[in-house]
């Protein structure tokens, strides 16, 4: 053969790689979130869309500002900042002043991610860090829920000046969880399923969230153990309570479809960075969240406990990982 040798590449094995890459995973999550997001915008109007944009803007700005100069394109390229802002936005009330939403995005990425050293290094779910910060900072604005309304009406509270209170001029309405907790009033299942209730802008529609989850599961981007573990535990725990006193405690169906349960179980708790690596650990993590959610919702001071449950289990994740190392092949056979 006279032909010159092609320039051969030397690289370590294995030579084959599966086709899934991290940006593709992130992109998949975007697609999975889209239906529930559109539903939220449909129910709560364009204002909800603005809140979402403000969150994403805050998140992306911080990510961009603190990324090392040469890595800027790459840092944004993986799409996690947008996802963080997006997820945060979905957990916010639709009439939240935009400056607060923006601040939430800044805190989510700044304190939730950047200071830890960027993607993959953080222990707590960044979006939830942002939300926990907002809830502790602006407790009233963060629990003022507007009823689903006209698509083109934008609540004027959105445009409150920075540092100032927003005045909500649309119809406010207690969220299903609040009604249950403080007044023991149930919300019809159909409304919970399609999302025609007040609440955070992205968590009202149970059906679309489940669809998104199924898509992620089908794409193998999602550890099915986490949602199954969380929802299963919550159902069992709430069923027990429901059987003890059906008037006082919410039933399992309400527990699953109300509030941030589905959004949290499908999109937040499953954040791979902040959930355990090992299968056994994943189960512990999921069951822990399920128990804590029902505990906080039923016995605690807040109507919604999903965020705190996930953050608490995030904190425990390193320990869970440490103590659930899988048995190495061929070791400790007698204990099997």
């Amino acid at each position: 053969m006279t032909q010159k040798d092609p320039k051969l590449l030397i690289q370590p094995g294995p030579q084959l790689r599966q086709q899934m890459t991290t940006p593709v995973v992130m992109r998949d999550v975007w697609y999975a979130l889209t239906p529930a997001t559109l539903a939220g915008i449909w129910f709560f109007g364009l204002g909800a869309f603005l809140v979402l944009l403000a969150c994403i803007a805050g998140a992306v700005l911080v990510e961009w500002y603190f990324a090392p100069e040469e890595k800027r394109g790459y840092f944004l390229g993986d799409g996690t900042a947008i996802l963080t802002g997006w997820l945060l936005g979905l957990t916010l009330p639709p009439a939240l002043p935009l400056w607060m939403a923006f601040l939430g995005g800044v805190v989510a990425v700044g304190i939730g991610k950047t200071i830890w050293g960027g993607m993959g290094a953080n222990i707590f779910n960044p979006a939830l860090v942002g939300r926990a910060f907002l809830l502790a900072t602006f407790p009233i604005a963060m629990t003022t829920w507007t009823a689903p309304g006209d698509f083109f009406t934008i609540p004027s509270s959105l445009f409150a000046l920075p540092l100032m209170t927003g005045v909500v001029d649309t119809v406010t309405q207690a969220s299903p969880l609040g009604m249950m907790k403080f007044e023991h009033v149930d919300t019809p299942f159909i409304d919970l399923l399609f999302g025609n209730t007040s609440g955070s802008l992205g968590e009202t529609s149970g059906l679309l969230l489940i669809l998104g989850g199924l898509y992620l599961w089908w794409r193998r981007d999602l550890d099915w153990r986490i949602p199954v573990g969380i929802l299963g535990t919550a159902i069992i725990f709430s069923l027990i309570l429901f059987m003890v006193d059906a008037d006082k405690y919410p039933g399992p169906i309400f527990t699953v479809f109300s509030g941030g349960m589905l959004l949290g179980a499908i999109f937040m708790a499953t954040d791979p960075v902040t959930s355990p690596l090992t299968q056994k650990g994943t189960w512990i993590f999921a069951i822990g969240i399920g128990l804590l959610v029902v505990l906080i919702r039923v016995f605690g001071g807040f109507p919604e406990g999903m965020m705190y449950a996930i953050l608490l289990m995030n904190a425990a994740t390193p320990l869970i990982d440490m103590y659930t190392q899988p048995r190495v092949f061929g070791r400790e056979l007698d204990q099997k």
Binding site: M100, A136, T137, F138, M164, T165, G166
Partner: protein, 214 residues
């Protein structure tokens, strides 16, 4: 003259260069617990300042009479005495502040800053230097308490020393007066001090190399 310079140096050291909070990170529990307003920070700072100064004077005066083996116990007794004095005085003179600070006044005893200064400085230096040191460290601690309290009060309530700053429509950042806000605010302030330090080091290095070139 030289002595003046030295004492001044000790003072500045405590206030800024080796600030007990921002640089040495000591005495955090009273610091974080009471700084939900600038006025509380001020009161706590003054109380600690007084205890530090008084104990420093006593320890430095009697240092040669206290055997090494029992010095820690003696220091603690001295500090506890001053703390009790502050506690009762505040309760009598400023009951409202005393109620706000609550159990954290007695806890000044457990402030590692004070015991640390006794052990590291007052028991080894002259009265004059010890007083300068106590003034510096006390002022540094006070400075930290008031600035932390001010930041938390401004954002948390929209006031400074009880004076409203932003008008009626201000949306308070409640977290700032809650425990997490304390942690995070101090963390961010430490970050700022680290950043200043790094910047200064960079400039120093630059100067050094320039000198070398010249």
């Amino acid at each position: 003259m030289a002595k003046e310079q030295l004492a001044y140096d000790e003072f500045m050291k405590g206030l800024w260069r080796e600030n007990p909070v921002f640089v040495q990170v000591l005495g955090l529990c009273p610091l974080l617990a009471v700084t939900n307003s600038a006025i509380n920070g001020l009161a706590m700072g003054l109380a600690s300042f007084f205890v530090l100064l008084g104990s420093s004077i006593l320890v430095s005066l009697f240092k040669s009479y206290i055997p090494k083996q029992v010095r820690i116990s003696c220091f603690i007794i001295i500090i506890a005495t001053f703390v009790t004095v502050v506690d009762y005085t505040l309760a009598a003179a400023l009951p409202v502040i005393h109620k706000e600070l609550g159990a954290f006044i007695p806890l000044i005893v457990a402030n590692c800053l004070i015991l640390g200064r006794m052990e590291a400085f007052a028991s080894r230096n002259t009265l004059r230097m010890s007083v300068a040191d106590a003034f510096g460290m006390g002022a540094g601690f006070l400075f930290a308490l008031v600035s932390l309290g001010a930041v938390r009060e401004i954002l948390g309530v929209g006031e400074l020393f009880g004076i409203a700053l932003f008008g009626a429509n201000f949306e308070p950042w409640v977290i700032m007066i809650l425990p997490p806000g304390g942690f995070i605010t101090l963390g961010v302030m430490l970050l700022y001090f680290n950043w200043l330090e790094e910047k200064k080091n960079k400039i120093d290095k630059q100067l050094a190399t320039e000198d070398g070139v010249n």
